[in-house]
Amino acid sequence: MVGAIAALKGPAHGGATYAARSMLDKIGTADNAEKWLREQHAQHARFPGFGHRVYRTYDPRAKILREMAREAAPELYKTAEHTEEIALQILHEAHPDRPNATNVDFWASVVLTGVGIPKELFTCLFATSRVAGWTAHVLESLADLRLIRPASVWKGPQPGSKPLPIASR
């Protein structure tokens, strides 16, 4: 659990919900979205809450949360809806080949705000849910236990050179 929490903390994983909310805070109001997002994109910044390694269409969880967000946080929803529209447009212009869709973190950040959760607790709340899945996976892995120990490719210096004595370095 501790290792899983440690991984979830990263902004590229569970920390993305917090990052998405921070982005919406910086954007502030819907009319500011286009300018802010284009500036960020020009600096090669990533938009938290967009893109996913696996989904090639709209994340089904995001779809449900998006509907919930409309009622849960009407003010923030307006900014978020416009932000989503512009972000998808920018991403599509930049990479027409890539299926860049909104992910669960984007709309989760709006719903959690509506429920009254401070953004510092978003990742913790994610963990409160995911603990059911983590423990299920631990139990599943016990049933067919094999040490997970992948390989690596050596990119270092050719092995075998003798170390120089410290005085000659």
Binding site: G3, K9, A151, S161, K162
Partner: protein, 371 residues
């Protein structure tokens, strides 16, 4: 869609320039240097510099790093409070896992750097020694800045300096175990780093993986098994009988080495010198185990691994066996942090696939209709 490979065996998870486990030739290489050229010649600090910076330090750089490590040994007030709150019979690996976590909280989500690696690595011995003293009902011993990493660890554990011979032995152990390719705990640390998480998070996950008996938890089990065997003359009988009950011999076999583990070779020679009683029993048990394993699987290259003779060296140094796995972590902290820095320098989220073998998608039956 690629195929499922149990244990990710043979699947390349990273490119690395830190260490190479050359299984076919029985070589361990740090940054191009073969372990036998480092183990008994270099200080832990020198090797940590090599792992972090990619090259051996000059005298001035080594002095600076030694000073920086020595200056980072103190625990934060929150870490000390946590240490105090843990029951005295807590597994020392759990102590390390918990207190490393608390020691790291002030860095929040900072991007891992070499100074943070130094800071974290310096804290491991303090955490363990403070807990050891607490278990004995003794006050913690303040670290001594004039002592190097290995010497200071023993000093904080025992409240007095150890003999140069034992300090050298611990230093060699720390150098030997400092890194080892894409082992399970290092891979864990890199997975966590790949989410842009912080260094303490990576280390906590790595400690969690190292705790497992299939990884770093084995040396204390080697000791348990040797205790059960008791004497060299019992080895043959005990081990053949154990085998009929499918008991595994602890300290044998490795995923990568196809020959004798080069670290085990060095540790074996140290055991013979420092711990003759252990050596008499262990060498007989080793001989018997290898003979039995060869009879059972003549096609498999079954060799002694690093855990087996580590146990004898750590015992000679005076460590209780519960401190064998966390002392492994004291050493591996250098490698883990080096791998986290390497991962962060060229990062991509590590997010593999799985193969779904559950039921076809279906509709849930309402609760009232389930029976």
């Amino acid at each position: 869609m690629s195929q499922y490979v149990p244990g990710l065996e043979g699947i390349v998870a990273a490119q690395t320039a830190i260490s190479l486990v050359d299984g076919a030739n029985g070589r361990l290489v740090y940054r191009g240097y073969v372990i036998a050229d480092l183990a008994e010649q270099m200080s832990f600090e020198e090797v940590a510099h090599l792992l972090w910076y990619g090259r051996l330090p000059t005298r001035a750089e080594l002095d600076a790093l030694t000073l920086e490590l020595a200056g980072s040994r103190a625990l934060t007030p929150a870490a000390m409070t946590t240490l105090e709150a843990l029951p005295k019979d807590t597994d020392p690996m759990d102590v390390l896992r918990s207190v490393v976590s608390v020691q790291g909280i002030e860095h929040r989500l900072e991007k891992p750097t070499i100074p943070l690696a130094v800071h974290a690595t310096a804290s491991f011995p303090t955490i363990l020694a403070s807990f050891h003293r607490r278990r004995l009902g003794l006050p913690p011993v303040k670290p001594r800045a004039d002592l190097a990493h290995a010497a200071n660890y023993l000093y904080m554990l025992n409240g007095k300096e150890s003999s140069p011979e034992l300090v050298r032995a611990l230093n060699t152990y720390l150098v030997l175990l400092a890194d080892h390719g894409m082992n399970a705990s290092t891979f864990t640390a890199r997975v966590i780093a790949s989410t842009d998480s912080d260094l303490a998070s990576c280390l906590v996950g790595a400690i969690g993986a190292l705790k497992g008996p299939a990884h770093g938890g084995a040396p204390s089990q080697v000791m348990d098994q040797l205790e059960q065997i008791g004497a060299p003359e019992n080895a043959e009988h005990w081990m053949r009988e154990a085998r009929t009950r499918k008991v595994r011999f602890m300290g044998f076999g490795h995923r990568v080495y196809r020959t004798y583990d080069p670290r085990a070779r060095i540790l074996k020679a140290m055991c013979e010198r420092l711990n003759p009683t252990f050596y008499a029993l262990a060498s007989k048990v080793e001989e018997t185990a290898l003979a039995i394993l060869h009879e059972e699987h003549p096609e498999r290259p079954q060799a002694t691994n690093v855990e087996f003779y580590s146990a004898g060296v750590l015992q000679a140094i005076g460590l209780p066996k519960e401190f064998f796995p966390p002392t492994f972590a004291v050493s591996r902290a250098a490698g883990w942090t080096a791998h986290v820095l390497e991962q962060v320098a060229n990062n991509r989220l590590i997010r593999p696939q799985s193969e779904y073998i559950g039921p076809e998608p279906r509709k849930p039956v309402p609760l009232a209709e389930r029976g």
